[in-house]
Point group: C2
Chain length 137, copies 2
DNA sequence: AGGGCAATCGCCCAAAAGGGTGATTTCAGC
DNA sequence: GCTGAAATCACCCTTTTGGGCGATTGCCCT
């Protein structure tokens, strides 16, 4: 969405520059000076947004709390989500078991289900896929 | 660094706007129209970069190839960096060994050194710490 | 020429992770 | 009251990881 806005800004900038290039004189006669300045400025503002978006991050989703859509799509349960977050935090099965106050076997079961649902072959892989799907920051 | 540039851009924009606000008439008399347009445009360009940087990502380092500063600080060698990237891609030691055409033992050695340098107690932990330090995307 | 470092590999062993299967409980929804 | 899904736990077994040695090679630098 923001990427789209940036592209529109860039197009606006390009359009403005093209107009200037093609018929500067007539444009200058037709438009009051201030409006012309504002046009150019707006174009550069859009271009700047484009540059900023290109240079920085570029990741689509910002703040994040899990993507309910993809999460529901894969039928990842609440418990599996909490376990997934623990895994992403770099904790071991034993640590997760302690934190969640369940048996290590339970943690292993949850993780196994997560792997199946995410199509992952390891915890790092699972985290990467979850991040691609936008269900983990 | 890029953040600094964005801030400079924003300051330029603010300065330009302030000048316009304070003494538009004298500025218009003193400067040829095109230069004035360029000044405003450059200001807005910087402002746009600032907005883009603020809206998107916000992470400090952008396109990326490893953060040389933190990397040098921890004395992470070239080979260790490539191994780290493979680990972050979710590959197993055996797979990494195949890709890099070295023995699995060598991969293990590199990873062990990485753990020591990063102060990590597992691959996921190592990736998280490396990402915090900005030496991995 | 010698020291230091990166890169490579080997071996041993313990711990962790992962795969497969089965079982129980709890609880919401029909 | 029955059903199904979620959550819990257990056991067995294989593979992977990780820790802790040591050793060699090649390269850069002084």
């Amino acid at each position: 969405m923001w990427r789209r806005a940036a592209i529109y800004g860039g197009l606006l900038a390009a359009g403005t520059l093209a107009l200037e290039w093609l018929d500067y004189e007539r444009l200058a006669r037709a438009l009051p000076g201030e409006i012309y300045v504002c046009l150019i400025a707006a174009g550069f503002l859009g271009l700047g947004v484009l540059v900023g978006a290109r240079v920085f991050g570029g990741r689509a989703a910002p703040v994040f709390d899990g993507n309910p859509t993809a999460q529901a799509e894969l039928k990842i349960s609440r418990r599996e989500m909490t376990v997934l977050k623990e895994v992403a935090a770099g904790r071991s099965n034993k640590e997760i078991a302690l934190v969640l106050k369940v048996s290590p076997n339970t943690v292993k079961t949850h993780i196994a289900r997560l792997f199946a649902k995410l199509g992952a072959k390891g915890r790092v892989d699972a985290i990467n896929r979850a991040r691609e799907l936008g269900i983990v920051p």
